[in-house]
């Protein structure tokens, strides 16, 4: 830790965002959520809890780990590999998780879907064959008010199974 920065001070940070190297001047008190949603206009990074880390809608992958971007400072993205759902598909070809979410009816209003997919991806990258219980635990920071979660868990299970075969 360095000495606490002054409010309003700016710094330049460089990181990889969805596979592209970016360099940007940020306010040192700015959250990663604010940087991605507002400065980079990545509207797939959403919020339902006003930035207190309770809904998971703003989940991003930072070096492969699912992190609530509202609880991270933008400055902490320096040097990291940052991914949002926007880069999950390869062109028009959906990632197996995305395909499974579509096929299994794992979304309704779709507001939580981006965060849910990223939390699921982090899980499968780390634990390719999770049990239903592990899936439920891995996603439990991500609020969905529509589905009842069962179809989301089904979809993650299906994606894991299909990746295996």
């Amino acid at each position: 830790m360095t000495a606490s920065p002054e409010i309003g001070a700016t710094r330049e940070v460089a990181f990889s965002l969805n596979g592209t190297d970016v360099r940007v001047a940020i306010d040192v008190t700015q959250t990663a959520f604010d940087l991605l949603r507002h400065d980079f206009r990545l509207t797939s990074v959403r919020s339902a809890c006003d930035g207190i880390g309770m809904c998971g809608a703003c989940t991003i992958l930072v070096d492969g780990r699912a992190s609530p971007s509202c609880l991270m400072l933008a400055i902490d993205l320096a040097g990291a590999r940052v991914e949002t759902v926007d880069a999950l598909a390869e062109g028009e070809r959906l990632h197996p998780l995305q395909q499974a979410f579509v096929a299994k009816g794992a979304l309704q209003c779709g507001y939580c879907t981006a965060g849910m997919l990223l939390a699921a991806k982090a899980l499968l990258d780390d634990t390719p064959r999770p049990t239903r219980e592990q899936i439920a635990r891995a996603l439990t920071g991500n609020l969905c008010r529509c589905t009842g979660y069962a179809k989301i868990i089904d979809a993650v299970e299906t994606a894991a199974r299909e990746a295996k075969s």
Binding site: A48, I52, V85, A89, G105, R137, T147, Y149
Partner: protein, 781 residues
């Protein structure tokens, strides 16, 4: 339609239309929109539950650089909001009646400036006596929340129940069948209990959001997050005095509605600010505003008495309930009426009396939330039925089956039911649940402090606005486009529930094409015919009928045009694989592809290949005694909960929730399962976790750190059981499902907890503290 062997589009597990946009992050909600030069709105809200505004000075806010407009009640003509009684001002006039009531609003160049301007508004309040409990509110000498209650406009359908005498009682509805006092006096067994339910928040992930702009023509356009754009349209126009043709509403993706996005506040405020500032203005509610600014599920107190014969026939039900509607009767009294209609459940009871009261308090406003008052009264009724079953030594499903509606049954509103007119699949839902879980599977078990038990509950709801409106209406347009696909214009909304996907299936089935050949046009009040919107489980049924009529009309016209060209009678033509051709295989060379037909229609024949359909359900109003036919299409749900209770900690783990639902024809089982599963989890939250706790009208929290909703680790095994029947008046025999899922869930869980522990908790939510207290009382006995 003879000769077609096309696989039906109905019954397919078609993914929702918004699936690919949602998984790729390309979906777009009102909160995501922005326009050049856009200003940001912010609202000043009351910190008092009841107070007179003695001074309001916005001068310093107006003078702040970056502030483009400030509005107060002086900028709004004297006009009010409210479904049941029109008495809620957009911005408070002289009095505030609950915490969070809007007083003034600003539009500024950025959110920081808007927040700063709000802080510069000066208000002096003189606190007034307030009341926070329905019983205190109706006691003699209670402070009056609306001393001039009779002067406001009211909903005609409810007016017979309006209470004109001074007081905080807004409406009192009575539904009477037979003579309940005599029935209870003669019943072999009588059970009596009181129940209470709590205020809960809809917790739409996308908060209320709205963006208003003046178009170059001078017309206004409003983008907003709602499932009911025509309702918002009429409220904004009447409130602000805008001619209805001067405003159009366009709805992007919607991050949930659950009933709460149909009462204007923010939508009119940003429109007003945009008119003042002559620039686009956007507003998004904070999560706190989602608790204090939009209205919650109504908290209800219920007293109920049930009389039963020794062989398990329900002889009489006497229920009185008090709804805390808060200071304004928006949908409050409509909810009270609907709850009263559903209170006796799907049972034929000869003698019934239901009295429902809507009572004003200075608590947070009550509002619509999936189920519309029905989960509250069903919690009480199904709890009492469980008490009766246990006392009679009868399986809880058997007691319900013995009394359940069938052909010839009569409802509490004296509506005579016949299978000719209504789909009556209630008994089938019990049967199907029983097939999956035979009574022998219901053994309760103990492992140390862990007690397992099983509980059942049932409910009935309606598809459509029913007795709350004279005519429940929808329209739809279908047109054939030059490339042979069909465009559907419907005001039915997808707020997540998925109806529009089913509507596309209805069009495809009716015309004879694949669902991929039907596109839903964007939802813009300029472009689509009127539709009552996503509410009251009505869209698949009401809008579905309008869509079906439009599709049938267009198919007929297409076949007639093709018949002229191909010189074959229209009756002998079919549409298959995008081609109109003779049904007779011997004439299969006589055909025309849909794109050619579309070209021919417009460029040769000179006719638009387009058709319109409309549907309206009428005649459901109740008389003063509560008699009438309030529901045409009944939704039935029978549910089973299995729980494990730790009697040392009072924690309840729900192991499984099974739900058998009569949905009529299942147009899209994937969508239906999604509706059932989602409502089961909301019902579980209602039963065990959720409550907007208030202290003197001030919510505790209120944020998602303190207000708990079910998360994935809480999810039990969910077992949706789709019971297909035929709804005679539904499109292809279908009807709604959206709300029915939530109606019996809390009761089923409470009954399971009783089965596990022998203790009945009659107040929701059943928290560990409440359950431990009840267990302690039981041990002391």
């Amino acid at each position: 339609m003879s000769g077609e062997e096309r696989p039906s589009v109905l019954g397919r597990h078609l993914p929702k239309l918004n699936s690919v946009p949602a998984v790729t992050g390309r979906n777009e909600y009102t909160v995501d929109l922005s326009l050049p030069g856009m200003l940001y709105a912010r609202i000043l809200r009351s910190p008092h539950a009841h107070a007179r505004i003695v001074r309001l000075d916005v001068g310093r806010a107006r003078a702040l650089p970056g502030v483009a407009a400030v509005v107060t009640s002086e900028d709004v003509r004297p006009s009010y909001l409210g479904g049941s009684v029109r008495h809620r001002p957009l911005l408070a006039t002289k009095v505030v009646r609950c915490i969070g009531e809007p007083i003034a609003a600003v539009a500024a160049v950025d959110e920081t400036t808007a927040a700063k301007a709000i802080g510069l508004i000066e208000v002096d309040y003189e606190p007034l006596p307030a009341v926070f409990d329905v019983n205190a509110a109706t006691a003699p000498g209670a402070p009056l929340i609306h001393p001039d209650k009779s002067v406001y406009a009211r909903l005609p359908a409810l007016d017979q129940w309006f209470v004109p005498e001074p007081g905080n009682l807004s409406h009192r509805i009575r539904i009477v069948r037979g003579d309940v006092e005599a029935a209870l006096a003669h019943a072999a067994k009588v059970y009596k209990s009181s129940f209470a339910t709590q205020a809960v928040s809809q917790v739409c992930p996308e908060a209320h959001a709205a963006l208003a702009k003046i178009e170059p023509s001078g017309r206004l356009v409003l983008w907003c997050s709602t499932g009911k754009p025509f309702r918002i349209h009429s409220q904004v126009c009447s409130l602000l005095g805008i001619d209805s043709s001067r405003l159009r509403i366009e709805v992007p993706d919607v991050g949930c509605d659950f009933g709460v996005k149909g009462e204007v506040s923010l939508e009119a405020i940003v429109t007003l600010l945009a008119q003042k500032a002559r620039r686009p203005v956007k507003g998004v509610f904070s999560r706190e505003e989602e608790f204090i600014g939009v209205g919650l599920r109504i908290a209800t107190e219920i007293d109920a008495t049930l009389g039963v014969s020794s062989d398990g026939r329900i002889l009489g039900l006497d229920m009185t309930f008090r709804n805390d509607i808060g200071p304004y009767d928006g949908y409050g009294s409509m909810i009270t009426v609907w709850a009263a209609v559903c209170a006796a459940g799907p049972y034929d009871i000869a003698d019934v009396r239901v009295v429902g009261e809507s009572i004003h308090t200075n608590n947070l406003r009550g509002a619509s939330f999936r189920g519309f008052g029905n989960p509250q009264v069903s919690f009480a009724r199904e709890g009492l039925l469980d008490i009766a079953a246990k006392d009679l030594g009868m399986h809880p499903v058997e007691l319900r089956r013995r009394n359940g509606w069938k052909d010839g049954s009569v409802t509490a509103t004296s509506q005579k039911l016949s299978t000719e007119r209504h789909g009556l699949g209630f008994i089938e839902t019990l049967d199907r649940l029983g097939d999956r879980f035979p009574p022998t599977a219901d053994q309760r078990s103990d492992t140390g402090p862990l007690r397992r038990g099983v509980g059942y509950a049932c409910g009935v709801h309606g598809s459509g606005y029913g007795c709350l409106i004279d005519a429940d209406t929808a329209g739809a347009i279908v047109k054939l486009t030059p490339d042979g696909t069909f465009l559907l214009f419907s005001g039915a909304m997808d707020v997540g529930q998925g109806t529009t996907t089913s509507l596309v299936q209805i069009v495809a089935e009716a015309i004879g094409v694949e669902p991929a050949q039907v596109i839903l046009s964007s939802q813009d009040t300029d472009a689509v015919p009127f539709d009552g919107g996503a509410s009251a489980s009505r869209q698949l049924y009401i809008s579905g009928n309008a869509v079906l009529r439009a599709a049938h009309a267009l198919r007929k016209r297409i076949l007639e045009m093709a018949a002229d060209l191909l010189e074959i009678g229209a009756d002998n033509l079919i549409i298959r694989d995008g081609v109109v051709r003779a049904a007779d295989p011997a004439l299969s060379n006589r055909s025309i592809a849909l794109p050619q037909l579309a070209f021919h229609a417009i460029n040769v024949r000179g006719e638009q290949p387009i058709a319109f359909g409309t549907y309206s359900l009428q005649g459901a109003l109740l008389n003063r005694e509560g008699k009438g036919n309030p529901i045409e299409a009944f939704l039935f749900a029978s549910q089973r909960a299995e729980v494990e209770v730790d009697i040392e900690t009072g924690t309840v783990r729900v192991l499984s929730l099974a739900a058998a639902h009569d949905v009529g024809r299942a147009i899209n089982p994937l969508v239906i399962e999604g509706q059932i599963e989602g409502s089961l989890i909301q019902g579980m939250g209602y039963a065990l976790l959720e409550e907007v706790r208030q202290r003197e009208g001030r919510p505790i929290g209120p944020d998602l750190g303190q207000y708990l909703v079910p998360m994935s680790a809480d999810t039990p095994e969910l077992i949706p059981i789709i019971v297909e029947t035929h709804e005679p008046s539904g499109p292809f025999g279908a009807k709604g499902v959206g709300e029915a899922g939530l109606v019996p869930t809390a009761a089923a869980i409470a009954n399971a907890i009783e089965s596990a522990t022998g203790v009945r908790v009659t107040r929701l939510p059943i928290t560990p503290e409440r359950l431990l207290e009840a267990l302690k009382k039981q041990q002391a006995r």
